[in-house]
Amino acid sequence: MLRDRLLSPYQHGVSRVHGWSPGRKLGAALVGVVLVVLLPRGAWAAYAATAFGLLAVALAARLDLRQLGLRVLLVEPFVIGIALLALLRPGGLPVFLSIVAKSTLCLVIMVLLTATTRFSDLLGVLWRVRVPTLLVTTLALMYRYLFVLLAESERMQRARRSRTFVPSRTGAWRGGAEVAGLLFVRASERAERVYLAMCARGWKS
């Protein structure tokens, strides 16, 4: 399913890039993003060189380029949307083009990182560099239950749709709110069960 593939950016594969340690990959990605951000506006040769470099990494990792492109295109509208504000100022077109190019390069870097690294490995890195435990726990639990809640929300919306013959706008809003509200209630009830399960396995805050 397309949605499932969009929600899990990791592409399983065996390659050198996949084999690098997650910490090194995250570090390299961060450095890369910062370097791209620091490039001056209008340095088109440098942008092109970076793009070729990233393409080489993608090829070395033997990734599905179509899926990578899809992921970039998914976020690109937001980039362009905010960059359009730059057109409001006099002489904004070069600024607009540079920003879109730089932003897209950063996007590609992050997409490459998540395509070759599991999120759980990234969490491990965050844990090792001493990000506060509470935040890492929250992230881990969030990632674990994200897909459960998304599936639950989808089930509830499907049930709602199958019982509503005439979809009106107010009806859709009430229905959406109903789903969201009950989703929170279920999430908080689930949190209690999760807590008990965590305690049973020796968890201490």
Partner: protein
Amino acid sequence: MHIPDGFLDLRTAATAAVLAGAGLAFALRDVRRRLPARRVPLIGLAAAFVFAAQMINFPVAAGTSGHLIGAALVTVLLGPGPAVVAMTAVLLLQSLMFADGGITALGANVLNLAVIAPAVAALVYALVRRLAGSGQRSMLIAAGCAAWCSTLAAALACAAQLAASGIVPWTTVLPAMGAVHMVIGLAEAVITMLVLAVVVRARPDILEGMDSVEGRRRAMAAYCAAAGIALVVFVAPFASSMPDGLEHVAERLGFASHASQTLSPGFAPLPDYSVEALGGDSVWLSTVIAGGIGTLVVFGIAWWLARALTARVPPGRH
């Protein structure tokens, strides 16, 4: 409202990151100290809930649809400290996993959506509850106002950061973002109230054990200070530098004499107020006036909606 990489300059990104880090550190300490251990998993699940709830579409018009942001909703449901942590987790996951929101702009995004938005929501919620009294209806009204104000505050901070980075001039981006998010905030307020009404109807007890906003003067003061400092740092330069900026643009475009008429009306939230005013103050003034009127309108709508929502619940159910 997620700022991607490449938009902010170094100074703005660093300032925002420091402020966001301070806010987050305070929230983490606050949660660790005050929240019972059995509530800790709820923060993670609430973060997952926000993510899932953001995927639910609310049709607006002509095929477009909006979605919840959720900062105010989580603040009302969980309290400000857990809300800051949960929203930070949402933004971190979005930027790390889906490249939605840049890594270098993470500080700014966390500051806007995970520190300023919950803090403003908590402040407005507490204030309106004090004014509107106790009970379910006042809770819904307060939540609606909190959602609107927090959306607007986050949008203004975001606009100010973009302007401080030299992407856009102050005079266009602040009124433009303000105007757009006054409308988006309205949708946010309505959705927040609808969802909250559902939660309260299904499990009236669910809010009682939560880390409530009231009765926490010191923590509240700290959160308000965080939001206030952040807003002042980014938005205040606008107030002082704006006339210069406007004149600068006007001179560059060579229509200094028509500056106020041509620049402001298209972007000002309430055009009537800016057309007649003269000089650089007009945009600022009209924004403030529009904000005031908007607040009153939102309060009215929230009051009406809360009445409609609570009237549906038969007495004795809550």
